[in-house]
Subunit: 235 residues, 2 copies
Amino acid sequence: MDKKSPIKITLTERDESVTITQWVYQTLRNAVMYGEILPGRVLTIRELAGILDVSPMPVREALRQLAAENALEIQGNRRVMVPKMTAMKFNELCEARIAIESHAAARALPYIDNDRLEQLRSLDSLIDQAQEEDNLSQISILNQNFHRSLYTANPHQVTLPLIESLWLQLGPFMRMATSELEEHYLVDRHNEAMSAIERRDAYALQMAIAADIREGIAFAGTPEMLHTFIENSGH
Amino acid sequence: MDKKSPIKITLTERDESVTITQWVYQTLRNAVMYGEILPGRVLTIRELAGILDVSPMPVREALRQLAAENALEIQGNRRVMVPKMTAMKFNELCEARIAIESHAAARALPYIDNDRLEQLRSLDSLIDQAQEEDNLSQISILNQNFHRSLYTANPHQVTLPLIESLWLQLGPFMRMATSELEEHYLVDRHNEAMSAIERRDAYALQMAIAADIREGIAFAGTPEMLHTFIENSGH
DNA sequence: CTTTATTCTTTGTGATCACAAAAGCATGTA
DNA sequence: TACATGCTTTTGTGATCACAAAGAATAAAG
């Protein structure tokens, strides 16, 4: 029955107020994000429908949406798979993150009021706390929240969906990166960012965000780590 | 029957080799791109299915895909509409274009070989030609092709889908912009870009691309033009 | 043993239907 | 006039089915 790797997807309780399609979408999105599905794995509608115990219809819609967000790849022969990663593509994704996110940060800066600043401070200290506790997955989540909170300060925000698409494509590697974070995190870039925000220094903020991204993914960029990853991608 | 504006969508012959969903997707995408559907207009699956003379199913899928690409907006109450434009949002979209596209151009530069260079030159001269003939819609299309051809030189390209999403959101305004292009196009930025490419000067290329985008949309950014646009958006 | 041809199975696509939620609409009340 | 209330219609969601194309497996031929 299950030719390929059996696919173990973390299932969460479905909130009644949410449509089945939305639930399937979130479930699959998390599965991709957390690397639960190997790159290169071919996904079939009926198989996923069986695993998630829903009809094929919501799966169809969720897959199409994820494909549109570049989280999944539609092969010429109308088949869907998790895209494979390469060292070069990984590099491009990181550089794209830096370009877009530092831009988004600078564009958000004028809109940061006291409430937002307080929220960012709170997230910052939560990250420090999680870092002391070595709670790696928590760090990863809080870090994303920090970035998101920063960018969404801009009420005319248009880049966040693009940024989220990049996060989704980097997926498991963003987590991988944080797994060795402590050793290399010599400078707390978030504190730098906070200070730049308080001084209303757009350029310094961009530098801090760029450094934060670059340092957070530096190791994943090292040959060893990438190699293990690309190997899994290969087949 | 038709409560709102009747929706006049340009229909093209459907190629047999293409799925109905893909054809519907392209048709609706063009309709949004060319401003055939007013912003704020609520779209219903069945209405579109009737207009396009297909079953509701392909329309459902196409709508979801376009929504994922930020071409359409899903309101809280599971309804789909063409997003309204505001002056601020328009500005954000333009600035985002500049940030991402100049980045994409710089990243593509090392990969531009002679074939690509020749292709760009050819497009450049076609644009000059269309400009002499005042063929505005042709200019708009060729201009997009020029940008696309430049960015896709990079074989590890990851930003093009994001850029296309921005183009889609700017949609009709990119055309609007070109309608007064001739008067303001004092400097041919494409020639500047070509020259930068030949000199392998990444910084100059970025500046040329940024200027090209900024000048191409400058008038749309003027109060008058935006006002007429936002008025239509308003209701 | 390898390669080609044929059958059988799997899978995406698209159509149709049932249902519940949302929207529209008319009527009634302050 | 403005706002609430009950009814009707519209609409998105999700399930099921038929079908053609793609894949996999088996058989036949070199």
